[in-house]
């Protein structure tokens, strides 16, 4: 079966989870502090995570095509389907970027009024120095402009690929044209994605910077995308589709999961190592706050995303069996979602608490507002050195999980809907035969 049929039951399950996600977001808004920090961090967190998955799907698709790879041709429609989700990310990032102009949120310290104005009492010398990049115009341009360019490429590549299916010729003219498009996309994507990550995520800890951060976040996206790909492939195979995808292809997808997990660990460690080794004391603040105030997530991150995949996926057989692959994919998808949680939440909370103090909003009031959400979110009531960490920041609470499931459902709904629009196995791809006979 090459034509995917999106059944009513699948649709209603996914829609149900989307409603759950919306409910959780609404509930988060209701129990939130005056700045709705928890709501906005959750929105940013999931938007960045799933937009990133869509982006990296297109990126590896392009990279593999440029590298003359053929093994993945039987699963390439999955990457195409994923990549189009960027259009949803575009809308959501538009809201977040708009929020910096209209003061919907206080996610970014650098977005405060008068941050670069020496006469203002918001003046911050370091952020003034960075203000030629960290400002609202660049943020908006970066979020909306870059994403629009990526989305354009995603739709262009997708339509070319479908055109190849319908009107592919023996001289592979469509493929030649596709190769040119992806070759143009790659360098653009490489530079813009780094800048986008700096703006979306790294600039939350506005005083801090790391030259490895873009790689680090991209590797995280990559593993999450591979996990989701494996889960989707196994789901589709379970429904009787993708008969051409064999253990050999799953083995290769599993290898990517393993390899990029190691790569992610290298970056996770080296990011700290360089700062530590060079005695750049002021840059250790990023790690200190996470190690001291979020120890469970900080070390748990390393165990889930390095130790377990390293030991479990090392064996040949675990990369070929559905059971271990599904287990590791679910674990790593969640693990890298938590990784992004840890990148975003501590810095955003710090900024919000500072802003509240600055604006004279008693922190006590905010804390009282949090009490509503206390039981709901299952907070562990940890007390850092400076202040109590409100629910939804210390640990992903039930509302965060619900929001995540809502976003995941929307991502899958969108992707499955794309799968109905073309054959699941591309027909006239020159590498199809290679992929069908793939053997590791």
């Amino acid at each position: 079966m090459h034509q995917f049929i999106f059944t009513g039951r699948q649709k209603s399950v996914l829609l149900g989870f989307m409603v759950l996600g919306l409910l959780c977001m609404g509930l988060t808004w209701a129990v939130d502090d005056p700045f709705h920090t928890r709501f906005w961090t959750n929105l940013l967190h999931n938007t960045v995570f799933f937009t990133g998955i869509a982006f990296i799907a297109l990126f590896v698709y392009s990279a593999w095509m440029t590298a003359y790879a053929g093994w993945h041709t039987v699963v390439k429609r999955i990457f195409e389907g994923f990549s189009l989700y960027m259009v949803v990310g575009l809308v959501l990032m538009l809201i977040i970027a708009g929020g910096t102009w209209f003061h919907y949120h206080h996610l970014y310290h650098w977005a405060a009024e008068g941050i670069a104005d020496p006469t203002s009492d918001h003046y911050d010398r370091i952020l003034a120095g960075k203000s030629s990049f960290l400002n609202k115009s660049w943020y908006t341009f970066g979020s909306v402009g870059f994403l629009a360019v990526w989305t354009f490429f995603a739709f262009r590549i997708r339509s070319m690929s479908i055109a190849e299916d319908n009107a592919g010729t023996a001289d592979y003219a469509h493929h030649q044209k596709l190769k040119r498009i992806v070759a143009i996309f790659l360098p653009i994507a490489a530079f813009t994605s780094a800048a986008a990550i700096w703006q979306w995520v790294m600039s939350i800890d506005a005083h801090w910077y790391s030259t490895m951060f873009a790689w680090y976040a991209t590797a995280s996206w990559f593993i999450a995308m591979m996990s989701l790909t494996i889960l989707t492939v196994i789901f589709l195979k379970g429904k009787g589709y993708l008969e051409e995808v064999t253990g050999e292809h799953l083995h290769d997808l599993g290898k990517w999961l393993f390899a990029i997990s190691i790569f992610w660990t290298y970056l996770w460690f080296s990011q700290f190592m360089l700062i530590w080794y060079a005695n750049v004391g002021e840059e250790t603040v990023y790690f200190q706050i996470r190690r001291d105030d979020y120890p469970v997530l900080f070390y748990g991150n390393l165990i889930i995303n390095f130790v377990l995949p390293f030991l479990i996926l090392m064996r040949n057989s675990t990369k070929r069996k559905y059971g271990t692959l599904v287990f590791m994919s679910v674990l790593l998808l969640f693990g890298h979602w938590v990784d992004f949680f840890l990148m975003i939440k501590p810095g955003a909370l710090h900024t919000a608490l500072e802003a509240m103090e600055h604006m004279g909003t008693a922190v006590g009031d905010a804390a009282a507002a949090h009490d509503h959400g206390h039981a709901l979110a299952g907070d562990h009531g940890g007390h850092g050195a400076h202040h109590a960490i409100p629910p939804g920041f210390k640990m992903p609470g039930l509302l965060e999980i619900g929001t995540f499931l809502g976003f995941l459902a929307s991502f899958l709904y969108f992707s499955l809907n794309q799968f109905t629009k073309a054959s699941l196995i591309s027909k006239n791809d020159p590498y199809l035969a290679e992929s069908l006979h793939h053997h590791t």
Partner: protein, 176 residues
Amino acid sequence: MADKHSEVLFGLYDDEVDLLDAVKQANADHLEIMDVLTPFPVHGLDPLLGLEESRLHIAGFIYGALGTMTAFGFMTWVFTRDWPIIFGGKPYWSVPAFIPITFELTVLFCAIGITVTFYTICGLAPGKTPDILDDRITDDKFCLAFKTNGQSSEQISKLKNFFSRTGASEVHNKVI
């Protein structure tokens, strides 16, 4: 690895597809294959020959773990017991600084250990001349070999007949 003085009858094929077909035919005829030698790994050959997955990687893991422990343990001993030195105001037991060396020694132990183990299994060592059936099996020939110690001329002619049926380009006898 083979016994001293094995009498070997082997056929050389020009293509791996012919070789795979020949192995299938040999299995169907219940002929006992001594070995198959190819210039490169041929996909699908292992299951046809009924070979189990190699256990070399388990040895590799053990060597690697040994390297990890050696590096980490040695540095810990040196920097906390034997010769503690303060570098840049950092503690004696500076774990992040140990990680790169631990990684390197893990890889080194694993690589050397696995190489030595593999050579030992294959009976290779510096200065040892291996018993090669034909030099061209490292180039462009695919070899299928039968052991013919103590076999009757009738059985041997049956094997020769098998080679001619399955399209071997050459058939040779050799004592190794």
